[in-house]
């Protein structure tokens, strides 16, 4: 792994044939096929009929995760064997960057849906503006507030009283997660979560600077702290969901507020778990196998980019889902 000077040409490593891709495709397909079957059983199935949907899903998922594990292992081995040139590392960096960009766009959709609902759909449903013409026919009496405490359906007196344009039972919550409904600011979980996640971004940064200064002790310590903070965040988030379901009556069925709330925070939480796992793997590599040096630590760097991205998404979530 001698650093490459600009004049010498290093051969770009093109792996000979590899099973990884085919296994990953198979695992992905089986797990998603299984998941689709699980959901269809749930919604359309006959509960008395035994199916093997869960088996397909879990086997597929296991196979998929095992393949990913093997894939990353292979890449790391190749890197340690000196196969990856500086150019190849740049390919990985570009790959990671554009992958994160695609994730940004994924969150962009859910945020856009939130803004669209809050600024246009809500007022229209309550009879304002260009879209308000149908209010008198379909949803008389509906008034728009955010968090949407009463769904249009409930304003009409429930699903049965409005036979058209009804496709489900949407029962609104008793209490929302907004700051305005918290009993005291210091009892308000999202604030603590924000502090935790933002500090974990800082600690990852400290770890990085430790690594750049070839101080592996500092690196291991601060990276470990970051992973811990991530775990605390996930635990608190789980607690929040429990509160929502058990005490606030806030569920996926609570109309559009519940839908946007759970989808945005849920996908974010899922990404935190991925990012945390990535950091944890880097920590284990460093502590157990002594990987990483000041010059060669792309695995860590890519994971930290991902972590910062997850953090930025949270800040936006905090603003637009909880505060405003």
């Amino acid at each position: 792994m001698t650093p490459q000077t600009s004049t010498e040409f290093e051969k770009y490593y093109v792996p000979e044939k590899s099973r990884l891709a085919l296994c990953a495709a198979t695992g992905l397909f089986l797990s998603l096929f299984g998941a689709a079957n699980v959901m269809n059983d749930m919604t359309y199935g006959d509960p008395s009929v035994e199916t093997n949907s869960w088996t397909i899903f879990l086997c597929g998922l296991f196979f998929f995760l095992a393949t990913l594990f093997g894939w990353f292992r292979t890449t790391i081995k190749e890197n340690r064997a000196g196969l990856s040139s500086a150019q190849m590392k740049k390919s990985y960096a570009l790959g990671m960057f554009w992958f994160i960009f695609s994730e940004v766009m994924f969150f962009f959709v859910f945020f856009s849906a939130l803004f669209y609902v809050r600024n246009l759909v809500g007022p229209w449903l309550s009879g304002e503006g260009d879209g308000g013409r149908m209010n008198g026919l379909l949803w008389p009496g509906f008034e728009y507030t955010w968090p949407m405490a009463i769904t249009p359906q409930e304003a009409m007196g429930g699903a049965a009283s409005q036979p058209i344009a009804n496709n489900g039972d949407f029962v609104s919550f008793e209490k929302s997660m907004a700051i305005s409904e918290a009993s005291a600011w210091w009892k308000w979980l999202p604030l603590w979560n924000t502090i935790i996640l933002v500090s974990s971004s800082v600690t990852v940064h400290i770890a990085h600077s430790g690594l750049l200064a070839d101080n592996k002790r500092k690196f291991n310590l601060w990276l470990g702290i970051s992973v811990l903070l991530g775990m605390i965040f996930v635990a608190l988030q789980a607690l929040e969901y429990y509160e929502a379901y058990a005490h606030y009556g806030l569920t996926l069925n609570s109309g559009i507020y519940g839908s946007t709330f759970f989808m945005l925070t849920g996908f974010h939480g899922f990404h935190v778990i991925i990012g945390m796992t990535m950091l944890l793997v880097q920590w284990l590599r460093s502590v157990r196998a002594g990987h990483f040096s000041a010059e060669d630590h792309f695995g860590f760097e890519a994971s930290s980019w991902y972590w910062h991205f997850v953090d930025v998404v949270w800040v936006l979530l905090f603003l637009f889902v909880y505060v405003l």
């Binding site: 051969k11 770009y12 490593y13 093109v14 792996p15 000979e16 044939k17 590899s18 099973r19 891709a21 085919l22 495709a25 198979t26 397909f29 998603l32 096929f33 689709a36 959901m39 269809n40 919604t43 196969l83 150019q87 390919s91 570009l94 790959g95 554009w98 960009f101 695609s102 994730e103 766009m105 994924f106 962009f108 959709v109 859910f110 856009s112 849906a113 669209y116 759909v121 229209w124 449903l125 260009d130 879209g131 769904t151 249009p152 359906q153 409005q162 344009a165 009804n166 496709n167 489900g168 949407f170 569920t251 996926l252 069925n253 559009i256 507020y257 519940g258 839908s259 759970f262 989808m263």
Partner: protein
Amino acid sequence: MGAHHHGPAKGLSRWLFATNHKDIGTMYLWFSFSMFILGGSFAMVIRAELFQPGMQLVDPLFFNQMTTLHGLIMVFGAIMPSFVGLANWMIPMMIGAPDMALPRMNNWSFWILPPTFLLLASTLFMEGGGPAFGWTFYAPLSTTYAAPSVTFFIFGIHMAGLSSIMGSINIIATVMNMRAPGMTYMKMPMFVWTWLITAFLLVAVMPVLAGAVTMMLMDIHFGTSFFSAAGGGDPVLFQHIFWFFGHPEVYIIILPAFGVVSQIIPAFSRKPLFGYDSMVYATASIALLSFLVWAHHMYTVGMPVAGELFFMYATMLIAVPTGVKVFNWVTTMWRGSMTFETPMLFAIGFLILFTIGGFTGLMLSIAPADFQYHDSYFVVAHFHYVMVAGALFSMTAAVYYWLPKWCGRMYNETMGKTHFWISFISFNVAFFPQHFVGLAGMPRRIPDYALQFADFNMMSSIGAFVYGLSQLLWGYNVISTIVAGKPISDEKVWEGAEGLEWTVATPAPFHTFETPPQVK
């Protein structure tokens, strides 16, 4: 890695475990061709039903499944993978790279596709039938009123999207990182430029589509109300999200086609491409503008007037860079010493017919006029002029143009020209009359129609059958070339062709440019 001058592996493992960009490109191309045949056979069912008014062959539900799967398979299974296959084959050879930047991921992107489309096609045999809500899958047709197979459709879209995103990331990394020394951005062949921009569009909008189907999934199975007004959501939200993906998607389909034509027209005009720089800027501005025009598909949905106006003017604006491109192609031919081999014929066919499609697009972009045209056969005619005579003609041109390089054998020119003329004429017989019936008010996606549309529909069906059959001639020509075509060995297959791909041996060896060439 000493043993690097390996040829391809033996047997099936060469394909299953492939990492070579040429092998993966070949698989993409054959996969898309088989999807083209499958999607085409669905189109034949549609045209057979519409051959005469009245209910003829299939019941309306099945008819709807045919229109839906025809659209989905052609867009996601035939056209998009075909251009990814072309990118795999050509981009490394055009920029002097040894392979794609991330070869194993490349194979993953490919192998996701066959099971995905097998699943999608198999929904036809599921209880309640396959997706029947049109390729645009508007909610609540695709949520409240969909058959249970919609869940498989949703995960199918997820997988196809994942494949596209990974394929695009690979292309971006290859173009940004693997260019040979001296191959600056502004020296890249136009095909590479258009694909770089397309890949950017894909990475930007495929996740948006993933978001849309995820919301559908949640609405169907988990009680959310994204697309349900009763819970405070809005079905129109679906349309906004879909078209925020959908309009860039049509440019994803056409930009690589632009790239191909920009390679072929100069080659057979024996002149460099006119206005290369302006071509690059035009492509980039088309891509950026494509994010701002999505609601031209929704003029009749009840948008505020300000919205209608904004989207109308923004849409018209796209005609400017598109016009720049057409102008540059025509000017490239001006006073060139032109010859008309099959690739050039298809490129010129593209130029003429795509321009017609662009003009009907311009007509559709006028909001008040679109109130009349919307969801009529006029729209069907428009998008077949840009997608079939645009994207597919260009793909056909590309295959004839590079096939000799790929396999070291020359295709049968007479058969190629015959293929072109039958395609060109039958395409117009099939789709030109649809402008008329559309303007006269025939709605799309309906298995029956009023009597006054009978003649034009019969014409259209005959054209479609001939067009469909003539593509088998193409398949035959390609296969017989690979198996028994006249061997050739000139590096430069076409006299006027320029670019690095014509400096390597013919047929292109398994590994090319393991040591990068120096580009002046």
